[in-house]
């Protein structure tokens, strides 16, 4: 070795920021999160406007698992099984979807303050929903239209970006443009809407909420979450390489032109399906991955699962608060922003994220 005594390797171990979580520690954090999520779901089952005693909920849960001979009363069972449980599961799936999509986009765009609706999924869905409400299409059609326009907006952004050039920067720019475009379309729909009934309906939809969520939505969101999440979780280690940028990725044999469409398609499916059911709460997908990063460190192979569980817990908590704390239900979009904004600033300050 050529290194002579006069040229010693630079700098002995100086005290510097070491990564927060060692492997076992981050695994433990994930376990805690999963435990907290199950506990949260049980609490959320219990909480609500119709009072149900704790032992009733527990008896019902045991009945479902086959541990008790007799389940809960018929009325209790109806409320738990057909009202609260679907809504809880939908909140969990939406939280997981948006947070996973947000974490994946943050890697793709190499920036911690990117949200999963960056490419227009939310504003497209918002326009689709407004249009459906304007033409009185009904709940299911509104959701389908919202989903379709969310996908359409991102497809448009993607097609335009191809003509601007390769890489993520053109994609980001065309995403910003498409978002502005569909937001303008939504405003036009609002202008055309009848201020007595349609306009409030549109405004309320855009504020977001799970008020109208049903069994049917549960099946749909379950399928889209599965399709969108599995590929992203499979390539979670490669996402670390993607997050270093195109040059590094190609030098390490990772073809960006192949992996980028996969990430965009999966994240868009997750975002559009969530937003179609619960309105414009894409912001969750910016907030939660940053909270998860503070817990398990920057590595995406750990960040993706942690974001999913934490996002599920977060949306569940906020939705439960929204439906039970006040006499009238508060749109969760408002609650998210009220709770999330100070929280995000705190997180970013603590982490000293390089933006």
């Amino acid at each position: 070795m050529v290194t002579s005594s006069s040229v010693r390797s630079d700098l002995s171990a100086s005290p510097r920021l070491q990564e927060k979580a060692a492997p076992d520690e981050s695994g433990r954090a994930l376990m805690w999160l999963i435990g907290a999520l199950f506990l949260g779901m049980l609490v959320a089952l219990q909480v609500g406007r119709f009072p149900i005693a704790w032992f009733e909920t527990l008896r019902w849960a045991r009945g479902c698992l086959g541990f008790a001979l007799r389940g809960a009363s018929a009325q209790t069972e109806t409320i738990l099984l057909y009202v609260r449980l679907p809504r809880i599961l939908i909140a969990v799936l939406i939280g997981a979807s948006l947070s996973l999509a947000g974490a994946a986009f943050q890697g793709l765009f190499r920036n911690a303050i990117v949200s999963p609706d960056l490419l227009g999924a939310s504003s497209g869905a918002g326009f689709g929903a407004s249009l459906a409400i304007l033409y009185s299409l009904g709940t299911l059609a509104t959701q389908v239209t919202a989903f379709a326009f969310g996908i359409l907006a991102v497809s448009l952004a993607y097609a335009v970006s191809r003509s601007l050039g390769r890489g993520t920067l053109p994609l980001l720019l065309s995403g910003v443009a498409v978002t502005a475009l569909f937001t303008a379309f939504t405003s036009i729909t609002k202008l055309m809407a009848n201020p007595a009934n349609k306009l409030p309906a549109i405004t309320f939809w855009l504020m977001g909420g799970l008020t109208n969520a049903t069994h049917r939505d549960l099946a749909a969101i379950f399928v889209t979450t599965l399709i969108g999440a599995v590929p992203l979780l499979l390539i979670r280690w490669r996402l670390n390489i993607v997050a270093l940028g195109e040059d590094h990725a190609l030098a390490l044999g990772v073809s960006m032109s192949r992996i980028q469409p996969v990430i965009v398609a999966c994240a868009t499916l997750l975002t559009a399906s969530s937003v179609a059911i619960c309105g414009m709460i894409g912001w969750v997908g910016l907030l939660v991955p940053n909270m998860a990063r503070a817990m398990v460190g920057p590595r995406f192979d750990r960040l993706l699962p942690a974001s999913m569980v934490l996002g599920a817990l977060f949306v569940l908590a906020v939705d439960t608060a929204a439906r039970s704390l006040w006499a009238t239900e508060i749109p969760i979009g408002i609650l998210f922003s009220l709770l999330g904004a100070p929280f995000l600033l705190m997180m970013l300050r603590r982490q000293r994220v390089e933006l």
Binding site: Q18, R110, L234, R238, L244, A251, G253, P298, E354
Partner: protein, 290 residues
């Protein structure tokens, strides 16, 4: 000092011990890209007829003035931008038309330093060098991490393994990326101005490491702004001038006072200095001391 596992034996056993560029023409061509398409024949040639051959254990230092296209040449060899014409072969592999994965097994790349926004640990970044050998859905195993540790050890930066890459100095970052390229186990290493933005001592550290790697059997191609680097760690020097001509040959034949003065347009002297480790040649531009 241990060798990084595989680096030399790999180069020895396969036929990939010579890299050959023939009639390579580098530059930019505007692609036709759908709706708002650029003009189809918007093509700019930077250098024509770049031809060289480099074997493992040799190192090529590419020199030339700013804007001559040194970085473009390197990026073309790496497949980051397409070549306008010509061929680049490594053994029997056509580097311009192989998959990124194949190429990453043959060429390691050390880009110029940049921000590492998310602050991954150094060890995790070095372990990414295993990517060309891992299936798409796999995570690095313990043996992959052990290779990363061995590479860090080889470059003398083991103490940095758990440091966040966002908190490193420029010199440490360069060594980390060299370590990552070593983990790639490729017979050839391409470095884009490995000493740029480094202080006096760190430049020397990086050059010494590169010289050692080259002597241990790696083929090295690097860009440099400092012709003296050819003496320090090059066996071969290539000059890329503003007219798009590429001349390559032995360092002693290529790096001469006449050529340096002609290429850079300033008077340059080559001097020999006696040091503790023997005579050392270096290039001195004529700037009068005050």
């Amino acid at each position: 000092m241990k060798l990084a596992p595989g680096a030399t034996e790999r180069a020895g056993k396969s036929k990939s011990n010579a890299m050959r560029a023939t009639g390579l023409c580098i530059g930019f061509v505007a692609e036709k890209r759908g709706w708002f398409s650029a003009r189809a024949n918007d093509r700019r040639t930077i250098a024509d007829q770049v031809t060289f051959e480099l074997r493992t254990g040799q190192s090529l230092v590419i020199l030339g003035p700013n804007g001559a296209g040194k970085t473009t040449l390197l990026r073309t060899l790496l497949g980051l931008i397409p070549a306008l014409s010509g061929t680049v072969e490594l053994g029997d592999v056509d580097l311009l038309h192989c998959t990124p994965k194949q190429r990453a097994r043959l060429l390691g790349y050390v880009p110029q330093s940049q921000r590492f926004g998310f602050g991954f640990r150094v060890r995790d970044i070095v372990a990414m060098g295993r990517a060309p050998f891992l299936p798409a859905f796999a995570l690095p195993s313990n043996s992959d991490l052990a290779m990363a540790d061995a590479a860090l050890e080889r470059l003398g930066i083991s103490h940095l393994a758990n440091v966040s890459s966002a908190e490193m100095s420029g010199g440490e970052q360069r060594l980390m990326l060299i370590a990552r390229a070593l983990v790639q186990q490729s017979p050839f290493l391409l470095l884009d101005e490995p000493t740029a933005n480094l202080d006096f001592a760190n430049q020397v550290r990086v050059l010494r490491h590169l010289d050692a790697l080259s002597r241990s059997g790696l083929g090295i191609i690097m860009n440099s702004h400092s012709p003296g680097h050819a003496f320090a760690c090059g066996t071969t020097a290539g000059f890329l001038d503003r007219k798009g001509q590429f001349n390559v040959g032995n360092v002693a034949d290529m790096v001469t006072e006449e050529r340096l003065s002609a290429v850079y347009g300033i008077p340059v002297r080559i001097v020999t200095v006696e040091t503790d480790e023997g005579p050392m040649q270096t290039c001195v531009p004529e700037v009068k001391s005050r």
